[in-house]
Symmetry: C2
Subunit: 160 residues, 2 copies
């Protein structure tokens, strides 16, 4: 979803999205995620200006930066941390859809320059990985989900 109506979502809606996010599974039940909710227009504009795929951020009105903190993860594992945070991100996208909101994953990780730009703008510690920025807002129109099912991706009992 990339076309937003311009009116920001409510704090209550943000809170529901973050409840969904934190319901994701985490390795060894050690949640390694942090969420920076950006609603300040000055900050939104700086991020939109610096990020090539987040120009819709101002129209969306809210951006959620999902951050991965390996030091809080099981075994301090960067791999587990990123996977757990991907699940939390997917939960945000699905919850947004279920509330008729629009949301889209725009990548920060693994591009080092983009990660450093976001770390710098949002004061994120060096050891924390900003994974993505999810603009969330009211969509201009409801989009129909694409059918992306492909039987060729399915094997039975062993790789063909």
């Amino acid at each position: 979803m990339r076309n937003y109506a311009g009116t920001p979502i409510s704090k209550d809606e943000v809170d529901k999205l973050l409840h969904a996010a934190m319901a994701a599974p985490a390795a060894v039940n050690m949640p390694p995620w942090k969420f920076i909710v950006v609603t300040d227009k000055t900050v939104l504009k700086k991020l939109a200006d610096g990020l090539p795929f987040a120009k819709m951020l101002l129209a969306a009105g809210t951006g959620i930066v999902v951050c991965a903190a390996p030091e809080e993860a099981a075994l301090g594992s960067k791999e587990f941390t990123l996977l757990d945070c991907a699940c939390a991100s997917e939960n945000i996208l699905l919850a947004a859809e279920s509330f008729d909101l629009g949301a889209v994953w725009t990548a920060i990780y693994p591009n080092k320059e983009v990660m450093d730009f976001v770390r710098n703008e949002l004061n994120i510690p060096q050891q924390v990985i900003p994974l993505n920025l999810i603009p969330v807002g009211h969509p201009v129109a409801q989009e129909k989900a694409k059918d992306k099912y492909q039987p060729k991706n399915i094997y039975w009992n062993k790789w063909a």
Copy 2:
């Protein structure tokens, strides 16, 4: 969910779970996932015997191995591939829950020995990463979702 009643799920249910999986977002719309559905008892037993966290596989009756194929991903990126496959996996877990089935992510990646064991048992090519094994089945009892919401993980407009 780790306690299964012993009766396998139907092929129709497997198909619904895989529809949900492939509805996940993929970087640059290049889906890099493959799914090996294991229902053969001999294969299930071999996997259960070799994997320390998948002993419930035989009682579950079905295991889905989510595989990440970087060569099919945007830019051949291993990072994008793993994140996309994590989202597909989360969709399987959520879809299972919505159908009153039980499912749990048991890790294969990033443990090299475990990845090699699964590659060998299921004939998976060396360049493909088996990410996890998701036992799916009928639960002995419905479990209530834990509330894992933690306000300490939320920041507004910048870190801390």
